[in-house]
Subunit: 200 residues, 2 copies
């Protein structure tokens, strides 16, 4: 199953054959089909695994690299940049890859993709809640967390297509700009603009 996860991640679901999984893992077809009656069951197990991996593999490391909630948010995003760097754009977001491939057809798989996205988004939302005091009061955290998720998925997609960090970094810079304007706006009513600007 671990081998299947890696191969689905690297090549996609359709492009990965059962035979390849068996070769790479050293398992036999009968053993595999004893636990996973169909290829789709294998994919479902992989998607369940990703739900478990979210915290230790994505959120945890980002928390360790920063303390401020907004900085932690960008540390999460930077984690995907590091993955792209380490694999020379071969690996992006495993869920995003499967999302496009499986968004038609299989409803159970799609439901698990949504669960994975929601896990990620709610982790971001949790960070936004911690920064809520600095944001304008009218900001919708569900909306903003969706926006961050969408930006991340789009940025990873484009970076892989371009084999270049230009689009990715542009999105990160724009998103940072957006957050700076939100924070700026959030402090306007309580603190005169001139003072915060004077300190900088």
């Amino acid at each position: 199953m671990e081998t299947a996860r890696e191969l689905f991640f690297a090549q996609g679901y359709t492009a990965t054959g059962i035979a390849q999984i068996l070769n790479s893992s050293g398992a036999n077809s009968g053993s595999l089909y004893h636990f996973f009656p169909t290829k789709e069951d294998l994919l479902i197990a992989v998607l369940e695994k990703y739900k478990i991996l979210l915290e230790p593999a994505v959120i945890g490391p980002a928390y360790a690299r920063a303390v401020d909630p907004i900085e932690r948010l960008f540390a999460v995003l930077d984690g995907y940049r590091q993955l792209l760097t380490a694999t020379d754009f071969a690996l992006g977001c495993p869920i995003g890859n499967l999302a496009l491939e499986m968004s038609n057809s299989h409803p159970q798989v799609r439901a698990l993709v949504v669960e994975n996205f929601e896990g990620w988004r709610l982790a971001i939302r949790h960070l936004l809640e911690q920064a809520q005091g600095r944001l304008p009061s009218e900001v919708d955290l569900d909306q903003l967390s969706h926006f961050v998720l969408i930006t991340m998925e789009g940025a990873v997609m484009l970076a892989r297509a371009y084999h270049d960090f230009g689009p990715f970094d542009a999105a990160m810079a724009s998103l940072r700009d957006h957050f700076e304007r939100l924070v700026q706006d959030g402090s306007d009513w309580s603190t005169p603009k001139q003072i915060t600007q004077g300190i900088q």
Copy 2:
């Protein structure tokens, strides 16, 4: 080739078989292979076609629905929303679909994916240039146009995965908010804030 384009769009490249293209189009395998020696050549022709379709199928209709450059930008994005509605989330962005599927392996295909993305982005950039007077002078139009493209691709991906417009509309609302703040900031130095606020 037109049938291949539709099937690649709806099902993806790997998931579409030559036999299916032949059945749906009524062509024979020999005829197909006379013009397209490999399946990849067929994909390349499809991607070239998309470059041509950008203007009449995407940009043109959006221009017809709005006049203001920023409104035209959002009209382009709304075009993808309409496509998702019309096909019940079955069809998203044809280039984005292929981008994730082909971002590894074939370099020639990836180059054409990039050309398609760049065509789209430069069309957006052209709109931003027309609105440049309303934006802060320090805004980087290349960065901002990449940001818009990335938001669009991510929004379409998530909408298809969720089978729901929540994420898509959240991204559009956030992007609108970002543009409003840019325009607001762009007018600050020339016009006192109080006056424009008073007019509203």
